[in-house]
Amino acid sequence: MIRRLFLFAWVALALVGGFLWAPPVAGLGATTRVLYLHIPCAWVAVLALAWSMVHSILYLRTRRLGHDDHAAAGVGLGLLFGLAATVSGSVWAEARWGSWWNWDPRETTIVLLLLVYGAYLALRGAVEGEERRARLAAVYAVPAFVTVPFLVFVLPRRYDTLHPSPIVPQAGAAAGMDPRVWVCFLAMLVGFTGLFLWMESLEARLRRREREAATESSPRA
């Protein structure tokens, strides 16, 4: 309870700080503020999908269904945060580029990423039996994550994108950024990571309870 309150206070403070305390970055103007939500969302999406792949491999090694709960929760949250990153990016694109959506390589690749993991959920829905579902989903999750570096790092670099360099802005721009922007940005990054860990544990626990409830109500022969 204390930790949750602390997390909420942390994110709220960082967000308010980003809007009121930190000055806008030169050249970005008021759209600087999207940065505090957009980049943490994109970061958490990649983190959640990596988390899911790690738990998929752990499931294949140990065959504990708990890992499958974590893997599925990771994909669900990856899709949620990926969608949030897409929407916040679209808002930013409207403000900066003058159009909500113009198939910039980075816009394209995040949609493809959402499709890849949408297919993961479709696959889970089509398999009978929890052991088999967990196993096949884990087998799919590994090559699915292989596409992530290609989609996030390789393709946008090969095909000209207008999108600012990911993860950390270009060195030149970064040097000129106000330290207050950095403080708020990093605080949001940490806060969103905490938010992810909390939501992930909730989701995984929910999945475990559902699984237990299902086995209790219909014991297998």
Binding site: L112, V116, A119, E128, V139, V142, P143
Partner: protein, 216 residues
């Protein structure tokens, strides 16, 4: 290695006896090709469209047919026997080679017809075959793994295309860019590297995964 070869021969013999897999794929490819070329006509001056249409025809023909390799085993109930005599890796490699061969035959018929019907400009065969070959390798590597997974689910046919296509978009993008560069006289080295890297990574992660695909 000998097992892989035996599985490939067995696949080919099985396919040759019935021929419905290859026949259906060829018919599908040719029908979509005729439809496309009738609707949009010769596109000799638009290499970008040519490249995209060729890959889409090939990709769809592949998606309509490549699940076959494993679905057939599951439907005939022969997968258990196959697993008794061969290791998962050998089965995977055998099926992969078969899928690759299948794609090769498909392309051997489809690509010339496409080039003629669409009025394509002269092809630089070296870069063209390099991009096509590496793209086919990446396509076969991905569809073999997805086919093995999807064969064990309900609604296999519909699910196969839905699950495989998102994974193949990278191949599609790089393949289209490569063929386009080939027609426009540019270098295809970047796209070839991208396709080769994708194929290598998918192969590298999928071979160990085959140990886990079949268990019950």
């Amino acid at each position: 290695m000998r097992t892989v070869w035996a599985i490939l021969r067995r696949e080919c013999r099985g396919e040759w006896r019935t021929r419905h897999g290859l026949g259906a794929a060829l018919l599908f490819a040719l029908a979509s090709l005729v439809g496309v070329s009738f609707v949009v006509g010769p596109l000799g001056d638009r290499p970008d469209l040519l490249a995209a249409l060729l890959w889409i025809v090939l990709l769809f023909a592949a998606l309509a047919s490549l699940a076959h390799a494993f679905v057939r085993e599951v439907e005939a109930g022969t997968l258990t026997l196959l697993r008794l005599v061969a290791s998962p890796t050998a089965i995977a490699l055998g099926k992969l080679l078969f899928n690759l061969l299948f794609l090769g035959v498909l392309e051997l018929v489809t690509v010339p017809v496409f080039l003629v019907l669409m009025g394509a400009p002269a092809v630089r065969w070296g870069p063209f075959l390099l991009v096509l070959g590496l793209g086919s390798l990446a396509l076969a590597a991905t569809t073999t793994l997805v086919g093995a997974v999807v064969a064990q689910t309900r609604a296999r046919g519909a699910l196969f295309a839905a699950v495989a296509l998102p994974l193949l978009i990278v191949v599609l993008i790089a393949g289209v860019a490569g063929l386009r560069a080939q027609w426009e006289g540019a270098s295809v080295a970047g796209e070839a590297r991208l396709l080769a890297a994708y194929a290598a990574v998918v192969l590298g992660v999928s071979l160990p995964l085959f140990d886990h695909v079949w268990e019950d």
